[in-house]
Amino acid sequence: MPGSALPPSSQDSPAETARPGISRRGFLKGAGITAASTALIEGVQSLRAETGTAAPPGVTELGPGPVPVHLHVNHAEHILNIEPRTTLAEALRIELGLTGSKIVCDRGVCSGCTVWLDKMPVNSCMTLAVDAVGHHVTTIEGLAPEGGVHPVQAAFVRHDAMQCGFCTPGMVMSCAALLEHNPHPTEHDVRQAVSGNLCRCGTYPKVFSATLDAAGERRA
């Protein structure tokens, strides 16, 4: 939904390159003060407007209005017109309709929104969409090749490693990432890999067995 409540800024420019490190807004978003951060950013900008100070040299300032953002998601390129404060989770779910990733805690403690940035699992609720620029984003929908099933997904079904299923996409992404980096995991490794994934139905034992089974299958 590209519509924005805020007027576009004249300083808008496309975010086409990866922005290394933690951005100011990334920090503000990460600090969990979404509404306050908006007010703060606006405040800073109106202060700049009043005092005539510009952004420091070499720093591109985006927003607060929508800017075009190029995202590479599940082997497809997308250009989204979104506010720079938009999290990757929001961009995926609302803009791209990829609702497999779930927003549960919206503060990086439950991993329900886990996606991969270049095969590294991240909490998409704690990642700004602009920080995913230049990376390959893989979501649960794109984990397996088109029409296929990833071995971890198949093992989750075989082992009944789900109940309500709301944590399942995040669990699968964490476990599949583990196998990318460690083809011979122990149960301890699996527990570590999903230590940030919260499941309220209490399906953990089968998550462990399913992942170990999938690992064995991949090796076979």
Partner: protein, 794 residues
Amino acid sequence: MSNRPIEDALLAQAGATVQKMAEMPVGVPGYTLHEERRKMPVTEPPVWPINKDLQYVGHTAPRYDGPEKASGRARYTSDVQLPGMLYAKFVNATVPHAKVLSVDTSAAEKYPGVRGVHVVQHVLGPAELRDPALDQGRYPVVRFAGQPIAAVAAITPAAAEEAAALVKVRYEKLAFVVDLDKAREPGAPPVFPGPADAEGSAGGGGGPTDVHQTGNIHGPSIHRVNDTAQGFKDADVVVEGHYVTQVQTHSALETHGVVADWKPGMLTVWASTQGTASVREELAGFFDLPMSQVRVITEFMGGGFGAKFGAGNPGVVAAALSKTTGAPVRLMLDRQEEHLSVGNRPSSDQNLRIGAKKDGTLTAIHLVSYGTAGCGTGAGCAGPATNLYQYASLHTEENDVFINAGPASAMRAPGHPQGDFALEQTIDELAVKLNMEPIDLRDRIDNHPVRRVERQIVRESALWKSRNPVAGADKGPVKRGVGLAQSVWYRFVRMNSSAEVRVHRDGSLEVLSAVQDIGSGIKTVLAQILAEQFGVPPSQIAVKVGDTNYPVGPDSGGSVTTLSLTPAVRDAAWQAAQKFLAEVAPALGTSPQDLVLADGEVRSRSGKMQPIGFRRAAAKMTTSQISAQARRVPDYDPSKYLTYGGVDVAEVEVDTELGRVHVRRVLSVHDCGRPMNPEQTISQINGGIIQGISYTLFEDRLLDPNYGLMVNPDLDLYKIAGAREIPQIDVRLVEAYIGQSSTDASGIGEAAGVVSIGAAVGNAVYNAVGVRVRRTPMTPAVVLAALRQGGTLA
């Protein structure tokens, strides 16, 4: 078996009671299996044998919607996006107790992107005053921080959130109380100006509505059996204890919420609910709409645990906003709102005294409990004391204490984890005092035939045999202990349980019911039932549930779904199969009575015809679709087998220096009538154990007494057990046939570990350290305090 199933079905539905008698398997195979005669309507299908003699039911079938869930394709309410959909956000009270003087929405209304603002006129959830006139004022009185006051709908979530922040609420603050003990004191700030009551939901909970209220104390609700004064006189020994349990929040991963689409002539609502029927009923009632003009859809839902019944505040506010804006409105709570405003498990403060003879026979049980359900009721916890054991006398007094906090709602086995924590530790203490083995004592005081088998299984287990009967015997700072506890739950049959089964001419089969699958796997079970009846694999069955356009289904609370709905589904499947055979028999050159369905074929009993594939036979139908609908038939003998449960054993390690309790292993022995799908049942029991451990060791809703606010309304400071805290869990399912329905299933959600694991951990901790921890959560501070008090720690 009747040859006239259709006519008989019509007769039965017309109220006629044509009955037949049949022998049914009853008891536990390998232990107590026998046959009992049951009277049942003549329309009932033939009695099923025990699971080992069935092909699909009672065996593990992969979860019906597993591939959708594992692939992210499963669409939950929070994933629903409709064209033109608005995002709504609540404005919530920031103070725990106040009169609202004014709500100024003008700035919010003017905010870019805002399409509608709604001011809440009636808050659903809190107890209602018996005399509503006592609450004067234009707006509902705020009784807890987080109470919804208004809501804003806008074209983006951000615009809704920002506009909601612009709504100005003026309060006249009132004195508040958020502490159970302070709320009980004379002169405590009253949460309500007069008596107030909250009834339970379809999932249970709620409190009595006919009790006295003194200040904030709503009760006592007294229950007596014989004379406990005499019972204690007759006792050789008396044990007593003071037990305290905390408030737990449900913390389902998908928050409460709906997407409401109000169109002329039809209100369609996608709801994250445990009861599509309950949501429809509440919306129809609230807006004075005919039930036929409200449709509720719940294809997938992300956890409820008892808190998700009815439309609630999100449902009615989203519907109202959709009506005024003419657009679909999505209103999903955020995590903080989920903790604050939509339910919790009440706390408890229990004084329990038990008298017994030297042989263990219980002469008296006396329980006085207080607990807070916030500004609701439902803190009663006498269920286990009342229903788990045989006793000569009983006296229970249950009190709800109002505080300025969000109202409780039913939570997985309402009242039972609390009550069991006290009861089963007290029984354990009695065993110590009588110098009896815990299982021997329970054999003496519990004659439930299935529990007896379950205790036998525990007695023979390696885990129980590894228990050192001497408490605190381990050397060193980390001590190991093993303890057990029993659970009890009840058989509730919901008659609003119907289903339709269709056979299509292409051989495809489908079952339709409004029932929702809340993660317990009812979709899979329905497929298995049709598979069993038609002799085809479950993978060939289409299951359509979670939509009130289908025949009404039970609200999923209190472990009712499987036991209520599956007999209706089997009856519908059987009737559809009979109709199908009657339909194709002429083309096959034989009579319907000569035909059977098995292994994907239609076969002749007499050999009149060669077996023919089911699909080929279906092609001979003269109509494109045959269907049968059935509703739940009452239990065959409602006087029998009213409870079920299990025995849970925990092995713990207690670090006596750090106060940390770690649960290493759990053995969980449970019954649920005929297990329909063992793997899914085990999943639920795993979940009950894990939720119960989380409750016992970690979870705690913390309220700041100075400001009346919850200080941990998130998922980091509200600590829930995670992957590293999960023990090895060994589940033993006990098939326990009871001869009650055409499927003979029971439920498992409540009894599954969550009731008894806390007490089992408590008893294991005692076994480890020789000191009883009578308070949850058993945090290091609580454990160290108990050790200090018990003299084990300097």
